[in-house]
């Protein structure tokens, strides 16, 4: 037996009398598998790799497209309007005479609505996600989660009217100084609108934290609150933050509800009881409106778009930074 073994250079297949009659395809070289499939496999894998790469590239191309368009038109815009005025001006009336091109009111409006919506949606959304994932019975979850996802599909016009006929009167009742159109009601309805993003995505991520981690914490005498806050949520943090990002992005991108609820008055104010306008709402107003292309008025939307892009980028970079500091990855 010893001899046999030492003299043998042949691959092992020969001796496998008692090993399965079904042989798995096998090769002895490391460089490629045998058989037709073996030879084709690298190409197949390569093809898939390439296809997936193309998929990922689409988003890059779209970004490049958007950035190029924004930059190209913005540069022309800044021939006409001084960048200083744009960045520091406190009045935004490009469509009115006399024209003013200070982006600050729009920026402020955007912050107000996005921030307000986040203040509404983040605690409620995260709380709900935690409840559904950690406390609720599977039955309850299976009913409520899809139900809440319906919130994501209700057209924003509906939210807009909800703001006007429902939320705004309440706010005006509580704060008589508020206008019919006010940022607060926009924050609330946009907050509601982005809830399902936070709830559904966070809930999924919380669910995928291994049970064994929870078990380990429970075994140490942690109560549900401690398990959730100290183990589950930190382990799911990257996903939760991603859901916040998506939701806030949606809040920033929202127009119809914001326009209906908060009006279309660019105003440099942080008072949520006043009417404001966001960058996005302005872009929609111009691009769906009457303004002829090629004019300065029309180009404002690209400058505003660029500003918006920079804003969201800052937010995302900050989020990435935070994640890189506090993210946990479980096995």
């Amino acid at each position: 037996m010893t001899e046999k073994r030492s003299n043998e250079e042949q691959p092992i297949e020969m001796e496998l009398s008692e090993v399965a009659a079904i042989k798995l395809p096998r090769s002895t070289s490391l460089e490629s598998a045998g058989g037709l499939w073996g030879r084709l496999r690298p190409f197949y894998e390569g093809f898939i790799h390439f296809s997936l790469f193309v998929c990922a590239s689409v988003s890059v191309l779209v970004t490049v497209g958007i950035v190029v368009v924004l930059l190209y038109e913005s540069v022309q815009f800044f021939f006409d309007v001084s960048i200083i005025e744009f960045l520091t001006g406190t009045k935004w009336t490009p469509l009115l005479k006399p024209q003013h091109f200070g982006i600050l009111p729009l920026l402020c409006g955007t912050m107000l609505v996005a921030g307000g919506a986040a203040i509404v949606a983040v605690p409620i959304g995260l709380g709900t996600a935690i409840y559904l994932s950690e406390y609720a019975s599977p039955r309850f979850r299976d009913i409520v989660k899809p139900l809440l996802e319906v919130l994501a599909g209700i057209p924003s016009v509906v939210y807009g009217y909800l703001a006007i006929v429902f939320v705004s009167p309440i706010i005006r009742y509580l704060f008589p100084s508020a206008g019919v159109f006010n940022a607060a009601s926009a924050c609330i309805v946009v907050g509601i609108m982005i809830l399902p993003m936070i709830i559904s995505l966070s809930e999924d991520i919380l669910q995928s934290v291994p049970l064994s981690l929870r078990g380990a914490a429970f075994a140490l005498g942690a109560n549900k609150f401690e398990v959730t806050v100290r183990v589950v949520v930190p382990a799911a943090l990257s996903g939760i933050i991603a859901s916040f990002l998506l939701a806030i992005s949606r809040a920033i991108g929202e127009t119809m509800a914001v326009t209906l609820a908060a009006g279309a008055t660019p105003k440099l104010t942080l008072n949520p009881l006043e009417s404001i306008q966001t960058m996005t709402a302005y872009i929609v107003q111009v691009s769906l409106g009457d303004t002829p292309t090629g004019t300065v008025e029309y180009r404002t939307i690209f400058a505003v778009g660029l500003m918006l892009f920079i804003t969201t980028m800052t937010m995302n970079i900050m989020a990435q930074y935070i994640l890189s500091r506090v993210g946990e990855k479980y096995e």
Partner: protein, 296 residues
């Protein structure tokens, strides 16, 4: 081509070994002075810590444990032995209600901890689990730093001061024989530890919580003989104050560390009793077969 001589040789050093590890079963090498196995009589006299009465356990429709009655005495080590899949872990998890986490499970019968029914609706699971610590079969470090892993329990118990925490962490890691290896990397992720290191980390984590009863599901399965010996020493040390339940596949280990042993087979508790007796003079043939390795 038999290599019997070599194996003989292997055995020789173990006879002079000073700490008990699995290759040295002939003598009980490592029971330090004053640490000793309780006799059957002593066991009978010991206070009953946990009393299990007619416990049956179901995974959905599947009965995993059938009518188990067992008394676990205070300040003793009880070992659960039995073939893989016989329900040892399931039973262990019943003792601190970890099975509650698995959906669709059902418990029948009673488990009394110092006379109080742990499955009563009045039971506060959190307090229960604070008192009954557990080391799982599969080590599951939190995806946090080593320090945070060990200090988790004390932290939620309300200890805030960094210094106190550090002291507890150091002490626990030292007891679980991990300190020397990790003392310079306490802030590194616990997931970067080797298998055996993770296991010892989990032991340290349970110790840091200072429980009253300690359930350990194969706490030395991934450990080398030296570390195993240190964990066994630890068990000896702990049993002066704590009640310990250990699951092990290693008959020598069971014989070495436990005062009482319980043999499970297919969800049934076949036999339980003082280790001394169960190993020397089992009442059931099944037990005899199992501990002598005749069966499988």
């Amino acid at each position: 081509m038999a290599s019997t001589p070599s194996v003989k040789k292997i055995m020789q050093p173990s006879e002079k070994a000073t700490s008990g590890y699995s290759s040295a079963p002939m003598v009980r090498p490592s029971i330090p002075e004053g640490k000793s196995m309780r006799t059957a009589d002593e066991l009978a006299q010991a206070t009953e810590k946990i009393s299990v009465r007619d416990l049956s356990f179901y995974y959905s429709d599947n009965r995993a444990l059938t009518d188990i009655s067992l008394s676990i005495p205070e300040r003793c080590v009880t070992a659960f032995i039995g073939p893989s899949g016989c329900g040892k872990s399931t039973f262990l998890r019943c003792l601190n209600r970890m099975n509650d986490m698995i959906e669709g499970t059902r418990v029948e019968g009673k488990i009394l901890l110092e006379g109080q029914d742990i499955y009563s609706s009045k039971t506060d699971i959190v307090t229960l689990r604070k008192r009954i610590g557990m080391v799982f079969q599969k080590s599951t470090p939190f995806p946090k730093s080593i320090f945070d892993n060990v200090s988790f329990g004390p932290k939620i118990a309300g200890i805030k001061k960094k210094k106190d925490l550090y002291e507890i962490v150091e002490r626990s890691l030292q007891r679980s024989a991990l300190w020397d290896e990790v003392k310079d990397r306490l802030s590194e992720s616990a997931l970067n530890l080797s298998g055996g290191q993770q296991q010892r980390l989990c032991i340290a984590r349970a110790l840091a919580n200072d429980p009253d009863i300690l359930l350990m599901d194969e706490p030395a399965s991934a450990l080398d003989p030296a570390s195993t010996a240190r964990i066994e020493d630890l068990i000896f040390e702990l049993k002066e104050q704590y009640t310990i339940v250990i699951v092990t596949h290693n008959m020598q280990q069971a014989a070495r560390v436990s005062d009482q042993a319980a043999f499970f087979y297919q969800g049934l508790l076949v036999e339980s009793g003082a280790t001394e007796e169960l190993f020397t003079n089992p009442k059931k043939q099944q037990t005899e077969d199992y501990i002598t390795g005749r069966f499988g």
